[in-house]
Subunit: 237 residues, 2 copies
């Protein structure tokens, strides 16, 4: 499989500027020749697509690449078909998926990504690389046609994975929520991707970038901590 | 409108036993003559319906009432049609809604509740009293047919409403998530119901029970803190 994916937990890390922790992984992933990245801003809800694209453009230009935003393209499907790379930003996963479905964009993005077009996603953008959106943390503010996503990898990501439990909160912990998912989907792995962590997937190779381990869940098994040096290729089986 | 609703944020409060903070509001709501409450355990995912029903039965019996669980009824719709009261427990809202839809139970429960049959819900059970599940905090572990719920009240509840933000978490705060909802649904009120809080709604009267205020959100307005003594009837307009 020719896929090339860079999947980040999040865009903002305490004490760093927007996507700062992602610049080095993105630079290595995109390589030296300037790439024009097609940006997908549809996860944005509380801010406009123009502002979102401008913010990400500044980050990409700083590492020698260019950005065009799909919301500016007269033909969105056509823009995907000729994109050199696609980057999908974070925000609300339900909003993102609904917008992609309404514009019939999931299939063309999937086809191109499986053919090897570089795909970058963070937060909601990483969620949609999974089979479904069913391990998002986001609020279901809009109703997509279906929970199915790009299915570029066989496991589910839980971005912003968090060990802590806020004081006084009596709802389910993050781990409990993931375990609920595993009850209904016992054959699926779920990767809890902590803040600042990135997964780089090249064909059948997978690499964790960042300082923290990721937490891997499967029904009936003890959760597994997988460190940045390890190669958890079982996730891609 | 004849509706009689008791909607709780949560079942467990720090330092208290299961539903302990709910016993007094439930006792007052159900009144003196012993009521047989039809329990809906379908939000349970990580534990069985039998265990769930047993736990809630103990609570109801302690205040002089009885419980039968809908999962034990040979005819679930028939059980709703003759129920003296319905109580819907917490767990996963998506699971609850999917189970209710598959059994065609939303409409009969709605009809009975609008005719005055007492309805009690906590956490996911409160969420489904709203027009949709779109302000739940739960993970979308299963895909319901639709996000539409019982629509017994015109506003949305966010249960387990939390002011704090866990350390190191860079995802959206709860207030930001609610504000995303308001962007796409600007005419709707959202009530952030803090742990230990209960809404009692009798026809067109609404009363907040508990020690904490609730936080009321509307697009373009400053969030409003409404205390237990106040009567926010505008929510029911």
């Amino acid at each position: 499989m020719a896929r090339r994916l860079l999947l980040l937990s999040n865009s903002s890390t305490a004490g760093m500027s927007y996507l700062e922790h992602a610049q080095e992984p993105m630079r290595e992933f995109l390589g030296t020749p300037p790439t024009t990245v097609l940006f997908v801003p549809y996860a944005a809800v509380r801010f406009g697509y123009d502002d979102y694209a401008a913010k990400v453009r500044a980050v990409l230009e700083a590492i020698g690449h260019r950005l065009i935003s799909i919301h500016d393209a007269p033909d969105a499907v056509g823009a995907v078909l000729k994109a050199e790379a696609v980057a999908v930003g974070g925000g609300n996963t339900f909003h993102l998926v609904r917008e992609l479905q309404e514009r019939e964009l999931l299939e063309p993005i999937r086809d191109r990504a499986l053919q090897g077009m570089p795909f970058i996603g963070w937060s909601a953008g990483s969620n949609i690389a999974c089979p479904t959106l069913r391990t998002t943390n986001d609020m279901p503010i809009v109703e997509p046609r279906s929970f199915r996503c790009l299915d570029l990898i066989p496991f589910q990501i839980n971005p912003h994975y968090l060990d802590a439990h806020p004081d006084g909160h009596m709802g389910e912990t993050r781990e409990e929520r993931i375990q609920e998912f595993l009850v209904v989907e016992p054959d699926r792995y779920v990767v809890g991707l902590r803040e600042g962590s990135t997964l780089r997937i090249e064909g059948d190779d997978i690499q964790l970038i960042g300082e923290k381990p990721m937490r891997v869940f499967k029904q009936g098994e003890e959760p597994l901590e997988v460190g940045p040096g390890e190669a958890p290729t079982f996730l891609l089986d």
